[in-house]
């Protein structure tokens, strides 16, 4: 994913962030729409330095948290950590294939939900097993499929490989 012009990629990230809030907040779709914000953070983190990625995660986390009355800051903590781990994952895994990106997004989103539950669990509904091993994997799969689809379209348009 690295190389070439940069602005198309950052436009994609900005569009993902905007699309997330349009779907979840503007249209009020809730869980019916994929978590594009986490997808945007995870994709961006792969192209950023660790500090910049963490700052990006913190910023979008605070924005999403602003509507949470009981767990304000929880998503900021999780996305900061997740963005940092995403940036550092370049040291361990090199690859830009769609399969790799799909697995990366799935694991990243599942980790997001697990960490969020760990931090804000007392304010959330449902039991741990259902949340971590049924709801979270489904949400992670949904986000991964959406992320891969968006990335496929992006690559077709820009010709990036």
């Amino acid at each position: 994913m690295i190389g070439g012009r940069r602005w198309p990629f950052w436009t994609l990230i900005a569009l993902l962030v905007v699309a997330h809030f349009v779907l979840h907040l503007g249209l009020g779709l809730g869980a019916a729409a994929p978590d594009l914000l986490t997808v945007a953070v995870l994709l961006a983190a792969r192209r950023m330095r660790a500090v910049a990625a963490a700052a990006f995660g913190l910023a979008v986390g605070v924005i999403r948290d602003s509507l949470s009355l009981t767990a304000f800051g929880a998503d900021a903590v999780v996305l900061t950590l997740l963005a940092y781990l995403g940036a550092r994952s370049r040291d361990l895994f090199v690859g830009d294939s769609l399969i790799f990106v799909g697995v990366y997004l799935f694991v990243g989103k599942w980790l997001h939900d697990a960490l969020y539950y760990l931090i804000a669990g007392s304010t959330l509904r449902g039991d741990t097993v259902v949340r971590l091993f049924i709801q979270a994997p489904i949400a992670a799969l949904y986000a991964a499929v959406a992320g891969v689809a968006v990335l496929t379209v992006y690559r077709l348009i820009t010709g990036e490989r």
């Binding site: 907040l25 500090v51 963490a54 986390g61 509507l67 009981t70 304000f72 800051g73 959330l124």
Partner: protein, 292 residues
């Protein structure tokens, strides 16, 4: 540097609620403003597309509540004037549309299209024609955020409609939102509240006016403490189905008001409230538990 950012995020997380609110309001008023405006427009369009008869019924119910309240208030003022009594504060309401928030961590809260400019304050009660929906938690200039009764922090001082037993109502969360119930806790152990008994706000604590329906007793929850009993209630209002509400705009007088007549409830006067002991009111205020 990364550790510093993480610490900043943790600092925000552990910040007391009172300090978090300005940050939330600032972000909502800037970064999220276009999206909230979009949702307001979507809600308005959805309302226009809803079955007209259903919409008219809901609006008529709310209008009936307001009209009855105005009539009773006028009658009350006239009688008090005849008796030479000081005029008692009457609650006033603003109609508002409910805007749902589709993000994690905001499940039991909703936005209202009325705010400080309309007289809404933190702690304003939110009602529907069926009864109590929730309470306003944060107020911006033209919008406000409220919690409904399914929120873990929701509490309301309550009594049976006949005034025989008082207690505190709190939510009992189910696996799904539709399974949520309420519980009347702290009822005296000797009380025997029959299933089907209506439970309404008691007016104690200064948050909710007296006499707003909360739910109906469906059975006993527990009685093992030896001191008091808890009863499960079927809620009067399902928050997920509410689209239009009334928001109380005189919070400072809300606790004194009595709305029993609006729902044809004839509870006897609260004798405890007539005792001029400040400590009683303070204890009730603490007992409501709600942050406002």
């Amino acid at each position: 540097m990364v550790a510093g950012l993480l610490l900043l995020a943790l600092f925000l997380f552990f910040l007391p609620g009172g300090y978090q609110a300005p940050v939330r309001q600032a972000v909502r008023g800037t970064a999220l403003r276009p999206f909230l405006a979009l949702q307001g427009e979507v809600v308005a369009r959805r309302v226009r597309s809803v079955d007209l008869a259903e919409l008219r019924a809901e609006r008529d119910s709310l209008a009936a509540v307001v009209a009855a309240q105005v009539t009773l208030g006028e009658e009350n003022r006239r009688l008090r004037a005849l008796l030479g009594l000081r005029s008692r504060a009457e609650p006033a309401f603003r109609p508002a549309d409910v805007v749902r928030i589709g993000v994690a961590g905001a499940e039991s809260s909703f936005l209202l299209d009325v705010g400080a400019a309309d007289g809404v304050v933190v702690g304003s009660p939110v009602l529907s024609a069926e009864g109590l929906v929730g309470v306003v938690w944060e107020v911006d200039e033209h919008t406000s955020q409220a919690i409904d009764w399914t929120h873990p922090d929701f509490r309301a001082s309550a009594m049976t409609a006949d005034g025989e037993a008082y207690g505190l109502v709190e939510p009992r969360r189910g696996r799904f939102r539709e399974e949520d119930l309420l519980a009347l806790t702290g009822a005296p152990f000797h009380s025997d509240i029959k299933p089907g008994t209506r439970v309404v706000t008691s007016g104690r604590g200064g948050i909710y006016p007296r006499g707003i329906p909360i739910g109906v007793v469906v059975g006993i929850e527990e009685a093992d403490t030896g001191w008091r009993k808890s009863y499960l209630l079927r809620p009067a209002v399902r928050p997920e189905s509410v689209m239009h509400v009334l928001v109380g705009i005189r919070k400072d007088q809300g606790g004194e008001a009595d709305l029993s007549q609006l729902w044809h409830i004839s509870a006897p006067p609260d004798t405890v409230r007539s005792v001029p002991v400040d400590s009683t009111a303070s204890a009730d205020g603490a007992a409501t538990g709600a942050r406002p």
